[in-house]
């Protein structure tokens, strides 16, 4: 299959329309049924697939960078009596397991971005559900700050996944219902088994939506609530606006190359090399200076590239199980960029850091084995790039006599890039010895930390000299590549998120894991499974054993 492009632009949207009016943006879902991500199904009734969600993710990102004046976004639809009917069932039914899992992961990330934009950037989201809001449609609404549902006697919010398809509302729906909206769990239980959902006053009384609004008052209420939400975030700095240019990578069968990021894959060994190049110069005095307005700033550009590379890795290279993660460049420039971002008070600088944070989370959430490797003098695991090494499952460092190979810390390691659990990567690493966090940061402030010391401090997993290093790494990679990919996914996911649970870790851990299990079970995807048979003349037959 052709590689998937995750890049788009509002000019090319097929499924959404983005418009702005002062501090309120409107994102209208109007899915074109005839242009699914791949042929074989129609996107009826505002159902979505990857192509629809790529546009949504793009829209949220662009609002943050290109329309910083926007303080509230109204997510709505124009279809008669339908807001969104969720992920397209025929698409799910005809997709490989790996695709389904990655599709759900991507949609989950996008919904979390909506919430992050609200929490961190003051960009509130209002779900204006002007019709049926089913499954993934309601999950999208749940990711917004406030939900309005039209009160027309028939439009309902619903989770028909379990009763109709024998799967879960896996895009965060179950978790947000009880953890975010705090719907009483017995009511949530009822709601999740009534395929047609709940409408009107009861939907509001149960907390499923915030307000039910008759059609005659709909437009006025939506406008009024959007204005009220926009006012909430007004105090935060915003702008200046920066247009995000296309990344336009070079894509070959075994290589994707960007300006700062390169991904090489070797299907024969099921391994790959992901290399991030640091900035070639110090940051400009003003980050948004220059003709590009900051769009080409390394901190932004390199992380957008890494983001795109990770998505392509997930979707286009399912067999590449182990990745060596390297950095190349001048560590001082990396640190200078981190500090410039930390000093800047603009909304733009904040957005760049938040984008870095999201991309690092996407790295955490990528179900491949990552081994960070520092094996050359120009390695630059410094500051925000050190976070990639701390995200990796292991970190291999070569001990060189000159101690040129070293890691460096910056303010980026001290708080602004938390993982999904809310801990920084250093806090997660030293979960049993919390004092070591401060120790490492203090030591890092004094200068580079070379291999041997990095191992002692607990930063490097293995530090070895040139006699041992090559074999050490080769054997580790070969061994890793031989293990069951399923077991590794589960093992890594369990070890990466040490510490407390959050909405986010529950979604990716508990909810997604159950969903992915259910996806492989005959009751949903077997020959007589409900998902398989949906829309077909036969009805499902279940194996009644409970686990």
């Amino acid at each position: 299959m052709d590689p998937i492009s995750f890049e788009t632009h509002p000019d090319r949207y097929r499924h959404w329309r983005l418009s702005t009016d002062g501090d309120v943006a409107t994102l209208v879902m109007n899915v074109d049924p005839d242009h699914p991500h791949r042929p074989g199904y129609e996107l009826k009734l505002n159902s979505y697939d990857l192509s629809v969600d790529i546009e949504l993710a793009d829209a949220i990102q662009r609002l943050r960078f290109e329309h910083p004046e926007v303080r509230a976004v109204v997510v709505t639809a124009e279809l008669d009596r339908v807001f969104c009917s969720g992920a397209n069932i025929y698409m799910l039914g005809s997709s490989s397991h790996s695709f389904k899992v990655n599709f759900c992961k991507f949609t989950n990330e996008t919904r979390l971005y909506l919430e992050e934009a609200s929490a961190e950037s003051g960009l509130r989201a209002l779900a204006a559900c002007q019709g049926t809001t089913a499954g993934g449609g309601y999950e999208l609404a749940l990711a917004c700050d406030e939900i309005l549902l039209v009160d027309d006697g028939s439009s309902a919010v619903s989770f028909p996944e379990t009763p109709l398809l024998a799967v879960l509302p896996g895009t965060g729906g179950l978790t947000r219902l009880v953890d975010k909206r705090k719907v009483r769990r017995d009511r949530a239980d009822v709601f999740c088994t009534v395929a047609e959902g709940i409408k009107g006053k009861r939907a509001r009384d149960w907390g499923l939506v915030d307000q039910v609004v008759p059609r005659s008052k709909w437009d006025a209420t939506v406008a009024e609530r959007a204005r009220a939400l926009a006012a909430e975030g007004a105090a935060l700095a915003h702008g200046p606006a920066v247009a995000l240019p296309a990344l336009a990578p070079t894509v070959e069968a075994d290589r994707i190359a960007y300006r700062y990021v390169e991904l090489r894959v070797d299907p024969a060994t099921r391994t790959g090399d992901l290399t991030i190049t640091g900035p070639t110069a110090p940051p400009p005095a003003e980050l948004h200076a220059g003709a590009d307005g900051g769009a080409e700033l390394w901190s932004l550009r390199a992380f957008r590239e890494l983001d795109d590379a990770l998505l392509r890795l997930r979707f286009d290279h399912p067999t590449i199980g182990v990745l060596r993660l390297r950095t190349r460049g001048d560590a001082a420039h990396v640190l200078a960029h981190d500090e410039a971002l930390a000093r800047a008070t603009t909304g733009f600088a904040r957005e760049v850091r938040l984008l870095q944070r999201r991309v690092l989370k996407r790295l955490d959430n990528t179900a491949r084995s990552f081994f960070a490797v520092a094996d050359a003098a120009d390695s630059c695991f410094a500051g925000v790039l050190l976070e990639t090494a701390l995200s990796a499952d292991r970190f291999y460092m070569l001990i060189d006599d000159a101690e040129a190979i070293a890691v460096r810390t910056s303010s980026a390691n001290a708080g602004p890039m938390p993982t999904g659990s809310g801990l920084t990567r250093l806090q997660a690493r030293f979960y049993g010895t919390p004092d070591d966090v401060a120790k490492v940061l203090a030591r890092g402030a004094d200068g580079p930390i070379a291999g041997e010391e990095a191992e002692q401090l607990g930063l490097a997993t293995v530090a070895a000299d040139d006699i041992d290093f090559e074999d050490e790494l080769r054997i580790a990679v070969e061994e890793r590549a031989s293990l069951s990919p399923d077991a590794l996914t589960g093992m890594e996911a369990s070890l990466r998120w040490v510490g407390p649970e959050t909405l986010e870790t529950k979604i990716f851990g508990r909810l997604s894991a159950w969903q992915n299990w259910i996806f492989t079970r005959p009751n949903s995807t077997g020959e007589q499974g409900a998902l398989t048979l949906y829309g077909r003349p036969e009805r499902p037959a279940f194996n009644w054993n409970r686990t």
Binding site: D152, G153, G535, R536, P537
Partner: protein
């Protein structure tokens, strides 16, 4: 024991007087029904005596009891066809098993949706027709309108009975919402789109009862096959009343057609409108409109909902008995679909094509009615033929909805469609003209200029019979 409700006030064969649950539910609902009737029922005719038929029992002698009654005093009853002992489910995955007398839990939601969707159309049509009494072309027609209205009311009762008896609290809430929605109301619209358009004049009323009520007949027929026995028995009884509605529509149009032919021959240049009639080409346009709106009511050509309802044994085919095989798992249905601007035949799994199967039966039935109108035209010696348009023409639901077709079924561009639309569907001018004819004629035995007298009276009554006492 209820003081409000009694077997006498509410004729029934469901042991209402000893069913506490039903009594409690109806005691709360019945006053709201009457409020609804006063607000949304026939406007301006709530105090007159109307010569109506009331069903007082399911016996042959009981279902058609004629007398004068004020509509708010009409005895809306609850009747189910008598139970057939040993009946088994006739189709779907549970074929051969005993029918259900209670709702199976796993089918509860699907069944409730079917009943609510059907039930919602009953009060909706009363609302759509509420102003028609002001412009009746004769007392005979006025009475027929009210007969249709009260029976739609009774059909609402029938569905409410099922909701009250078998669906607990949810059912009571749904029953109340059936009275809460309003046809054409922006805030509380009726469920199906076609039931939100007002019936603005009598030509539309006759077309509605001819074509839209006939959809009702086929839906009821499919539900009368249901494995949920109370639904099947209810629908079978309703079908006897639905037949009268179609009689009103079919003979109504037949009389308009006959009158058009008479006027064509009277006017030297054959101009029907010059003599205050409705010309045959205009009738054809309204036929095109109402027939196609009604086709939409059957739902999408390819429908997983239809497959599910059949598989579950809840909604069968029209006259399921006449089919040889009732599981319908391996069969396919040849369907004409539009691909790249061309009509091509495609085999669709039969269960998912069941809406289309039912629609095909309906189309045959409609064609028979149109043929009877053409017979009238021929008998009048006029050279004109009315015809049903293609099932692809002017559709808003299903696989043809987003494309344009001629009445003959040929795909055409939007531009061609727009250029010819006025030839195929009623224009604003047509609508204004037909409305201009709608003047009430309320003298016993008299008819408006645009409609012929009926061949015979209701219940054998003479031509001069005072069907509605206007004092």
């Amino acid at each position: 024991m209820s003081t409000v409700l009694s077997d006498d006030k509410i004729p029934n064969n469901v042991n209402l007087s000893s069913d506490r649950r039903l009594q409690r539910a109806l005691e709360a609902w019945q006053p709201k029904f009457l409020d609804w009737w006063m607000e949304m029922g026939p406007a301006g005719f709530q105090v007159q005596d109307v010569y109506l038929r009331t069903a007082v029992s399911v016996e042959a002698s009981g279902w058609a009891h004629f007398d004068y009654v004020k509509m708010p005093d009409y005895r809306w009853g609850i009747f189910l066809e008598p139970k057939q002992e040993g009946r088994t489910i006739g189709f779907g995955d549970y074929q051969g098993q005993p029918v259900w007398d209670e709702v199976p839990g796993e089918l509860r939601n699907m069944l409730r949706r079917l009943i609510v969707t059907q039930g919602d159309t009953e009060p909706a049509s009363v609302e759509q027709q509420r102003l028609l009494g002001q412009t009746a072309p004769s007392l005979y027609d006025l009475r027929n309108l009210f007969q249709v209205n009260v029976e739609e009311g009774r059909h609402l009762w029938a569905m409410v009975y099922l909701l009250h008896t078998y669906f607990g609290r949810d059912g009571r809430e749904e029953a109340e919402e059936l009275l809460g929605r309003r046809s054409g109301d922006r805030d509380r619209p009726r469920i199906l789109g076609a039931f939100n358009e007002p019936t603005t004049h009598w030509l539309s009323f006759f077309m509605f009862t001819m074509f839209t009520d006939r959809d009702g007949k086929y839906q009821l027929s499919a539900l009368s096959e249901s494995g949920f026995d109370p639904l099947a028995r209810t629908c079978r009884f309703m079908l006897t009343e639905e037949a009268h509605h179609m009689f009103v529509g079919e003979t109504g149009i037949q009389r308009v057609v006959k009158r058009a032919c008479e006027l064509m021959k009277q006017d030297p240049s054959g101009d029907v409108r010059a003599l205050g009639g409705i010309d045959l080409p205009t009738i054809q346009k309204y036929l095109n409109l109402w027939y196609t709106l009604s086709l939409d009511l059957f739902g999408g050509e390819i429908s997983s909902n239809a497959a599910d309802a059949f598989a579950a044994g809840l909604k069968g085919r029209h006259k399921e008995d006449k089919y040889e095989e009732h599981k319908v798992l391996d069969q396919s249905y040849p369907m004409e679909v539009l691909e790249d601007g061309k009509i091509v035949a495609k085999d669709i799994a039969m269960r998912t094509a069941l809406n289309e199967v039912l629609r095909a039966e309906y189309i045959k039935d409609c064609a028979r009615g149109v043929e009877r109108w053409n017979k009238t035209i021929r008998e009048e010696g006029v050279d004109f033929t009315l015809a049903l348009p293609s099932n692809r023409f002017h559709r808003h639901i299903g696989i043809y909805a987003d494309s344009h077709f001629t009445p003959g079924g040929e795909p055409v561009s939007r531009a061609v469609w727009e250029a010819h639309r006025h030839e195929w569907l009623p224009t604003d001018e047509d609508e204004a003209y037909v409305k201009s004819l709608m003047q009430p004629v309320l003298e016993p035995g008299k008819m408006a200029s645009w409609i012929a007298a009926p061949a015979k009276g209701i219940n054998g009554q003479p031509e001069q019979f005072e069907y509605v006492r206007l004092v």
